[in-house]
Structures are given as C-alpha cells and as structure tokens.
C-alpha cells in the first residue's frame, strides 16, 4: 500500500512584498482518489496555485488511508474526495469522516453530472460537488468559499 505523499510548497513570495492577493497563511489540502493520474494532477494543480502563502498537499489512495491520516492527527482545510472509488465510494468515505468529527470542507469530485444527486451529496456530508476536470478556477472558488465561511 502506498504511503500518503506529503509536499510543502512555498510559493516563493519575496520577503519584501509577497503576493498582495494572498490572505491565507497556510492551506492544507488532502486529495483522496484511487486513480494515480487523478491524484497526481489534482495534487500538482493545488500546489501550483498561489492561493495561500504556504500550501501543503497530501494524497490518499483510498478510504482507509484518508481515515488513517485523520486518526494520526492530521487535519485539512479542504478534502478533495473522488466520488467513484470502487471499494468504498466517496460519499461513504465522507460519512465516515464526518462521523469521526472531521469538519474540513469536503468536496466531491465526480466524473458524472455533479448536480445529479444533490440530496445524496448533502446527506453524505459533502460541502460541494464538482465535475472533473478540476481547474485552477474551481480550486480558487473553493478557497474563496473557505475564506467567506471563516
């Protein structure tokens, strides 16, 4: 079983000015997806966006890894949860995380219509559901929502 990967990304702000648009000091994002390609692309997308002064990303290949991360004390601002993982799908994994008391913004990422089953999404405890492909704009929207709800 692959261990979760962790990256600290410093956006390289200079000492004097930094990026004037950044209001967050740090952003912690967990990418949960069984598909290696999706993990790689989503992790890189998040880490490259200058939405905080420091962005930390971790990945988990399945529900168990995601739960283990939280049990070991990790916490995240945003969890990007793939909705179509074969063993235990995204909504089920989300229910388990919420039952553990996880209060992060949990965002379902789906290959099908993101609005198809809003009731199921809400019932599972997801905050949002977005259709693939994830884009820079979609991630920025999530961070802005996070800031508004602070």
């Amino acid at each position: 079983m692959a261990s979760p990967s962790m990256r600290w990304i410093d956006d390289g702000c200079n000492v004097d000015g930094g990026n004037p648009g950044l209001t967050r000091e740090k952003l912690f994002v967990l990418v949960v997806a069984d598909d290696a390609l999706v993990r790689k692309v989503h992790e890189k997308l998040v880490s490259k966006l200058k939405v905080a002064k420091q962005v930390q990303t971790q990945t988990a290949a399945n529900r168990k890894e995601a739960l283990d991360l939280h049990l070991s004390g990790s916490s995240f601002d945003i969890i990007l949860m793939d909705m179509q993982m074969p063993i235990m799908d995204g909504p089920e994994a989300t229910k388990e995380l919420r039952a553990m008391g996880v209060e992060s913004m949990i965002v379902g990422v789906t290959s099908v219509d993101a609005t198809a089953d809003k009731e199921a999404i809400v019932e599972a405890g997801l905050d949002e559901c977005l259709a693939k492909p994830l884009t820079a704009e979609k991630i920025k929207y999530l961070v802005e929502t996070l800031e508004r709800n602070k």
């Binding site: 999706v38 790689k40 693939k132």
Partner: protein, 157 residues
C-alpha cells in the same frame, strides 16, 4: 541551420496541437496540464500521459473481457471502469475519448449489449488515435529539446 531546426520543430508541435484541438481530440484541459509543468517537475506532462496510457489500456482490456462474456450481467462493473476512464480522460483533456465514454455509459445503463460493443470499438479506435498523436507530439518535443542542446552546448573552460 540548427536554429532553424528548433524553430521548425516548435512550429511542427504547434501545428499538431492546433490540429488536435481543431479535431476535438484535445481540449483546453490539455493546456492546463502543460501549464502545471515547471522546473520542479520538468517531465510532468509525459509522466501523467504515461499513467493515462497504462491505466486506459487496463480499462479497455477489462471492458473487452466483460463484453466477451456470453451472458453479460455485470453492467455495474462496466460503469465503474467507464467512470474511471471518463475521469482520467477529462483530466488530461482527451475530449473525444471522454465523449465516447459518455455514450458507452449510456448504452451500459440501458443494458444494451450490442450498443456497448459498438461503443467499445469506437472507444478503442479513438484511444489509439489519441495515443499515436500524443506519441508524435512527444517525439517532436524530444527532438526540439535535443536540437536546443546542440544549438547551445554547455561551455567547458
């Protein structure tokens, strides 16, 4: 002469990309993928595409095996494979492959075996075309990178 080679190859790459966009084979998500490549991950695009090829071929094999079963009843399993292929295809900008997956999924939801077979053949065809064109793109990129090195060799004093 060498400078001409680099520029010629760059033009070839742009021509091929423009063609693939025009044909609807790729969409803007592919450009987003290219923008993610940087000095810290200089081979990001080729690494992602390599994973895509590996995973897609596994999924296509599984889909074909499922459809070859005389009494196909596991449409649910087929949908799981298709969802994965749809997700990864959309993540790299493989627009036509993704669209065929959508049609394939619709046939699967209707338990339409003949429709699924036709969709699989089309999917295999689109995937092969995409793979060949992306290989061509990477070959040109490699030649361009090599030509740049020849043009500007490192100086050793």
């Amino acid at each position: 002469m060498l400078g001409w080679g680099v520029e010629f190859l760059r033009a070839e790459m742009n021509r091929l990309l423009a063609l693939l966009f025009h044909q609807g084979v790729l969409d803007e998500q592919f450009l987003q993928l290219q923008q993610l490549q940087d000095e810290s991950s200089p081979n990001f695009v080729s690494e992602v595409i390599t994973i895509y090829f590996h995973e897609s071929e596994k999924l296509l094999r599984n889909l074909r095996l499922l459809l070859m079963e005389r009494e196909l009843s596991d449409y649910k399993k087929m949908e799981i494979h298709l969802n994965q292929m749809m997700g990864s295809s959309s993540s790299i900008g493989a627009k036509r492959v993704r669209n065929v997956c959508v049609a394939f999924r619709a046939a699967s939801e209707q338990n339409n075996h003949a429709g699924c077979l036709r969709a699989l053949e089309l999917l295999e065809h689109e995937y092969c075309y995409l793979k060949n064109k992306l290989h061509e793109l990477f070959q040109i990129e490699q030649q361009r990178a090599l030509a740049s090195v020849v043009r500007y060799p490192a100086r050793h004093n």
